[in-house]
């Protein structure tokens, strides 16, 4: 294919965007049909509804139309930002619930991501500089431990140590909204990612440090920190950037349990509550919302990657 020489970046972006759209559609269709295929309905409850009321309810939510029509209507609605009313929280629309919960989750998630990147890259670089020496083994051992301890184990352990035994930090809730309440949830969310990022950084940093241009820089007598910051870091971070997509997905998924454990009123908690109560529209809304978010952020990560590594844009 003859790529127009003048706008490779734009072409790259459009191509990636065209890749993201089918993913989104598959996600929505999959979630939609899964829910409609499931046994049991949103109006099943201990109390048997009178049949005429149930008929009216079904009609009100258009549950008796053919499935493709329901899907079409749903797609049209979400294109306008309307996820429908929540079955469980009768007075709220799903969009309102998302608007309530997401800012909390966003705060938690972006703090965790920032810490994961900062700590992970620093630790990985230090380990690479001390390759096969005690510092390296210590950092990598810690990282392996971090990878092996999932969020939902780490979180109660943190509560046990820092809230129950030491009493330094609150065990849950958001309290007055101060940072104190976010410390434990953010750590629980960030640590496994710190571990992954440290391992990735170490691996690629070791490779970069062996390359000729670094040797040249050394031979010219540049200080180590100048070499790392000015020359080695950018190429060494490529694998970390490509891991950002999965990291984001992991943090979003992790936020579901972490919010549950710490009683943080974020979107993840709505999701679990909705899941346990068969709240069709709420579960769908959150899956689609988080799915689109992940797909959109992946798109941005792709662009950043293309910017960092010009070789990719040629394809």
């Amino acid at each position: 294919m003859a790529a127009p020489q003048n706008q490779p970046v734009l072409r790259f972006a459009v191509q990636r965007l065209l890749g993201a759209i089918p993913t989104l559609l598959v996600l929505i269709a999959l979630a939609f049909f899964l829910i409609r295929l499931a046994p049991g309905g949103p109006f099943d409850s201990e109390k048997q509804l009178p049949p005429e009321i149930e008929t009216k309810l079904r009609a009100a939510y258009n549950l008796d139309d053919p499935l493709p029509m329901q899907l079409g209507r749903y797609l049209l609605n979400i294109a306008q930002g309307d996820f429908g009313p929540s079955f469980q929280y009768r007075d709220f629309t799903v969009s309102e619930l998302i608007a309530t919960g997401f800012p909390v989750s966003l705060r938690l998630g972006s703090l965790a991501m920032a810490i994961a990147l900062l700590l992970g890259i620093t630790a990985g670089t230090l380990a690479a500089l001390r390759q096969n020496r005690p510092a390296d083994y210590t950092i990598m051992g810690a990282a392996m431990t971090g990878i092996s301890i999932p969020n939902f184990v780490l979180a109660p352990l943190l509560v046990l140590v820092f809230a129950v035994w030491l009493g330094w930090l609150p065990a849950g809730g958001l309290g007055d909204g101060s940072l104190r309440y976010l410390v434990l949830p953010v750590i629980a969310l960030a640590l496994p990612q710190v571990a992954y990022i440290a391992r990735l950084t170490r691996g690629s940093m070791i490779e970069v440090l062996r390359s000729p241009f670094i040797r040249t820089a050394r031979a010219q007598g540049l200080a180590t920190h100048t070499i790392i910051l000015r020359h080695a870091l950018k190429p060494a971070l490529l694998p970390v950037v490509s891991y950002l997509g999965p990291a984001l997905a992991a943090i979003i998924t992790g936020s579901v349990v972490v919010e549950q454990i710490f009683g943080v009123p974020g979107l993840g908690r709505f999701f679990v509550q909705g899941a346990l109560n068969r709240d069709y529209t709420l579960v769908m809304g959150v899956v689609v919302f988080y799915g689109s978010l992940i797909i959109a952020l992946n798109f941005i990560v792709d662009l950043v990657y293309g910017w960092l590594d010009p070789r990719l844009r040629q394809v």
Binding site: F152, L276, I294
Partner: protein
């Protein structure tokens, strides 16, 4: 080609004997392997040997801390059930999920990847495009959806988790299959008129085993993690059955009164994941020819 008969071939160094030699020198991986074997044995045999059953209540000892004297080595839970047996029993479920779901993901991933890689061309493009699309889906959310919708039964857990974990395997296998496609022995098979399906499963797949084993070892902990995650949220294994995730959840709720309920299952879970990761890393070093020296 027509080599004199008296030349004796040097003793063969197969991939496997080489790999075993490298692995045996890796002390961390060997320790992890040994630990895993011990834990697996305990988990299988332990519940039969113990005096307690995983679901029987000891009315005199409810929420009792661990003690050697009472025979409840890990203590008891809020219902007076012996935590040692429950931890072992939960381990059975967790390890079983790890094994079965990994097998499912291997089956799908290897077949899919090998077909895409060997057939190539348009078929490959379409198949890999599908993988790309699936790759970007938030899987944990879809599994939760599945569990909520179709009931929380254990067979579904096996297959649902396996069915979503095959994408990595498919990609890796495809890459390998593509490079194997042009090997002489495959060309020979093709020239000899062997059918495509037979070439894929007789000649391509067996030569992929090295990579497959490495990634299977790394898939097991991921799968165990997914199951624990579900069980933790209450969407996985249901009472009175249990798994490490479910036990950690129970422990998390009794943090202040009975911290041992969290600590023991959490340690076993983390230790298992830790060991699998170490073995996987060791195997990668042993089986990845790129790093081979000498």
């Amino acid at each position: 080609m027509n080599r004199p008969a008296e030349i004796v071939a040097p003793p063969g160094r197969s991939l496997w004997s080489d790999a075993w030699r490298v692995l045996r020198r890796n002390r961390a991986a060997m320790t992890a392997l040994l630990l895993l074997a011990t834990m697996t044995l305990l988990v299988i045999v332990g519940p039969w040997l113990s005096a307690f059953s995983f679901d029987a209540t000891d009315w005199d000892r409810i929420s009792e801390p661990p003690s050697l004297a009472s025979g409840h080595w890990f203590g008891t839970d809020a219902l007076g059930r012996d935590l040692f047996v429950r931890t072992l029993y939960g381990g059975r479920i967790s390890l079983l999920v790890g094994a079965v779901a990994t097998a499912v993901s291997l089956l799908i991933g290897i077949s899919y990847g090998a077909i895409a890689g060997y057939v190539g061309g348009r078929v490959d493009q379409v198949m890999m495009r599908i993988v790309d699309i699936l790759y970007a889906l938030p899987f944990m959310f879809l599994v939760i959806l599945l569990m909520v919708l179709f009931g929380r039964n254990i067979v579904l857990i096996f297959f649902a988790i396996g069915a979503i974990n095959w994408l990595d395997m498919a990609r890796i296998v495809r890459g390998q299959a593509m490079s194997l496609r042009s090997k002489e022995y495959v060309e020979a098979a093709r020239a000899g008129g062997v059918r495509t399906g037979r070439i894929i499963f007789r000649h391509i797949v067996p030569n992929l085993l090295g990579v497959v084993i490495v990634y299977a070892t790394l898939t097991v902990p991921q799968v165990i993690l997914v199951e624990s995650f579900l069980s933790f949220l209450g969407l996985g294994v249901q009472e009175p059955m249990t798994s490490w995730g479910a036990l950690v959840n129970e422990g998390a709720q009794e943090l202040e009164n009975a911290p041992w309920m969290l600590l023991f299952p959490a340690t076993w879970l983390a230790l298992t994941l830790f060991c699998f990761n170490f073995v996987g890393d060791g195997l990668r070093d042993a089986l990845d020819p790129r790093d081979r020296q000498g």
